[in-house]
């Protein structure tokens, strides 16, 4: 494998790392972690189809190379980013904006934080040498090459801390904006810690400034949900049509905690979202739901790893893919129920709707059960729109595209319905609507 890893690309990136590493925030232990992470990445290089987890998303073929780091945003870039943020603004949220991989305080709402809420840019935390926080942000699985690379290169992000007993009514909205003035990569890493008995809603959006050129977003999110805490999470990928988005989230739940996450991918040329959820405390529940709406030559991969490590936890996955033209949707869902995790209740259902003969959807559900007293199940279907339904609707006066749009809305509706917040459900519906309208 070493031989394969030493491609031109790998070497070039190694040079990049050697040049930038001294300028990356975080000294001492963090610098060591970065170096180790980069070495871990270099050993494998960009993942390819001969690695089982990456079988359907061969980054060596799709991405070919990791672009150099984006320069720090200047005033012109920030103003273009501000316009993009405004276009997709969500009412009533506290906005935290990252532009080209750098926290943008002027575009963010940092004022008057509610009691118990602390928000700091990652760079500031690292520069301040806050050891515990930094280590938690960077303690991730470097056996995954893209997570390792993200850890090695991350320039900024947000670190959010929610003190025990704090229920935040205002959702937090992390907006990733790429200016795309030149082909470049952005590496961000964020940390969200929910203390005991807390509750918060986090929205993440991925956007591009108008006219953005090819860019690569590499994002990592680390989440720790304390006992009896609840996180509602909505993730919207609306990247530019020739962009790459390689992101991961690692979520750990304490006891009697709740995690509800919904992801919608409609943008980007190639995207991969790797979500690892670990139930580490008993009595927790997890709902991970998602929708891909893709066309053209888009490639969207959601890879989920649900780890039931302790007894009495429940997890539900509802995933829907709508794939048109020559697009390719991938859903890999692996559920592991460890030997101690008795009374686990885990279910996963993934369905794909193919709108063209050239569309492709790969569904790979996997269950690994090592406990004997559990309820687990999964299902996967792939099909086209039902012709008899389409005819009925057309016979009532709906043009074909409109009839299809109603059926597609119904198809993704079951996943979108799982969003707890009415306002955010509307945001997701509006995003899906935009996709359908662009299609008509």
């Amino acid at each position: 494998m070493n031989v394969v890893a030493k491609t031109e690309t790998g070497r070039a990136l190694g040079d990049v790392f050697a040049v930038v590493r001294d300028r990356l925030p975080g000294k001492g232990k963090i610098a060591d972690q970065r170096r180790q992470a980069f070495e871990a990445y270099e050993r494998s290089g960009l993942p390819h189809r001969r690695i089982e987890d990456w079988k359907y998303t061969d980054l060596r073929a799709l991405m070919r190379e990791v672009l150099p780091l984006a320069p720090a945003p200047d005033a012109a870039v920030l103003s273009r980013a501000a316009a993009a943020v405004k276009l997709r603004a969500i009412d009533g949220v506290r906005r935290l904006v990252l532009v080209d991989g750098a926290f943008a305080p002027d575009l963010s709402d940092l004022g008057n934080p509610e009691k118990g809420l602390s928000i700091r840019p990652l760079r500031e935390v690292l520069d301040a040498g806050d050891g515990a926080l930094s280590e938690q942000a960077f303690a991730s699985d470097i056996s995954n090459p893209m997570i390792a690379l993200n850890g090695a290169m991350a320039t900024d992000g947000v670190v959010i801390d929610i003190a025990n007993g704090t229920m935040l009514s205002q959702p937090l909205h992390i907006v990733h904006v790429a200016s795309g003035t030149a082909p470049a990569s952005m590496f961000t890493r964020s940390l969200l810690r929910l203390g005991r008995d807390t509750g918060v809603t986090l929205v993440e959006s991925y956007l591009a400034a108008e006219g953005a050129k090819a860019y690569q977003t590499h994002d990592g999110l680390v989440v720790a949900i304390g006992d009896n805490a609840r996180l509602d999470h909505v993730r919207l990928v609306e990247d530019a049509i020739d962009a790459f988005n390689i992101s991961s989230a690692t979520v750990t739940l304490g006891a009697h905690a709740h995690f509800n996450t919904f992801g919608l991918t409609s943008g980007g040329h190639v995207s991969r979202y790797q979500l690892t959820v670990t139930c580490a405390g008993e009595g927790s529940t997890v709902e991970t739901n998602g929708v891909n709406l893709i066309n053209g030559k888009q490639h969207a991969d959601t890879t989920l790893f649900m780890d039931h490590a302790v007894p009495h936890c429940a997890s539900r996955e509802i995933f829907r893919a709508v794939v048109d033209d020559r697009a390719h949707s991938v859903f890999q869902g692996r559920i592991i129920v460890r030997p101690d995790a008795q009374k686990t209740d885990a279910k996963m259902m993934t369905r794909a709707l193919l709108l063209s003969d050239d569309a492709e959807a790969d569904n790979k559900p996997e269950l690994e059960i090592f406990a004997d007293d559990v309820t687990c199940g999964h299902g996967a279907t792939t099909g086209a729109l039902d012709e008899s339904l389409l005819f009925y609707m057309r016979a009532r006066g709906l043009p074909e595209k409109e009839a299809q749009a109603l059926l597609i809305q119904a198809f993704v509706g079951e996943a979108i319905e799982t969003i707890a917040s009415d306002a955010l459900r509307e945001v997701a519906i509006a995003t899906a609507q935009r996709w359908l309208e662009a299609r008509a």
Partner: protein, 250 residues
């Protein structure tokens, strides 16, 4: 000008010819009944008029107010005023009846160059119609036909007919799967829609339905053709003697 004119229609499904030169002329205000045994081509005729894919018209034509219907998409036909009440209305989970009817009505209006109807105005209209057909409001909030009984599905078809106000209504085996009470409610709904401008084509296997929806003209179909036409008494005659005599005639 007649409303609907089917001339020497020949239709194939895959390699088999189902209709071998069928003709039918329907004028405004008339109710035509088409009767015939299973496999005589009754449902094929209704599908071809509505534009269902999968049928190949190899000869003849269908004119609606003199326009060539076969050149139009199913949705264009609907907007022009052709309505097919399905023998087996489909279930559409996840699309509420409200939403579906509103979208369909507006699509038809848009195609005719009329203004779209607003949600409040639509709600008022659909509520009135639903009430007259004894359709509970909560049915309208559910997915189209999802969990509806046979009778409810047929009433939903008639609701749509009342809402869209078509010029020609084709009722395909409206009586199938209905008990006598459900049949009466459905027939009352249809009768309320009879008017001097509107025509109906009632396709049925049994004479029973025609006790409730009394036709002006009765056609007997056999083996892909109309083999006999007459007044309403023809239906009664059929009830007595059966279809066997016509199978020979064809």
């Amino acid at each position: 000008m007649s409303l609907l004119e089917v001339k020497d229609l020949q239709v194939r499904v895959e390699e088999r010819e189902i209709l071998h030169g069928l003709s039918l002329t329907v004028n405004p205000g008339q109710v035509h009944a088409i009767m015939g045994p299973n496999g005589s081509g009754k449902s094929t005729l209704s599908h071809v008029i509505a534009g269902k894919p999968g049928y190949e018209v190899t000869g003849g034509q269908i004119l609606f107010r003199g326009e060539d219907l076969l050149e139009m998409e199913p949705n264009e036909r609907a907007a022009k005023g052709v309505f097919l009440a399905f023998q087996y209305p489909v279930e559409i989970p996840g699309v509420t009846t409200w939403n579906f009817l509103h979208a369909a009505l507006n699509a038809q209006r848009k195609a005719r160059g009329e203004d779209e109807i607003s949600s409040p105005a639509f709600l008022k209209k659909v509520r009135e119609v639903a009430k007259s057909l004894n359709i509970p409001q909560d049915m309208l909030k559910r997915g189209v036909n999802v969990g509806f009984s046979g009778g409810e599905k047929k009433r939903n078809e008639i609701l749509q007919m009342a809402l869209f106000e078509p010029a020609v209504c084709i009722l395909d085996e409206m009586d199938s799967g209905l008990d006598i009470d459900a049949l009466r409610i459905a027939a009352d709904g249809v009768n309320a829609l009879r008017s001097p401008e509107r025509a109906m084509v009632v396709i049925t296997h049994y004479q029973r339905l025609l006790n409730y929806i009394v036709p002006d003209v009765v056609h007997v179909m056999s083996k892909g053709r109309v083999v006999k036409s007459g007044g309403k008494e023809l239906a009664l005659e059929l009830e007595e003697s059966g279809y066997a005599q016509f199978e020979d005639a064809a």
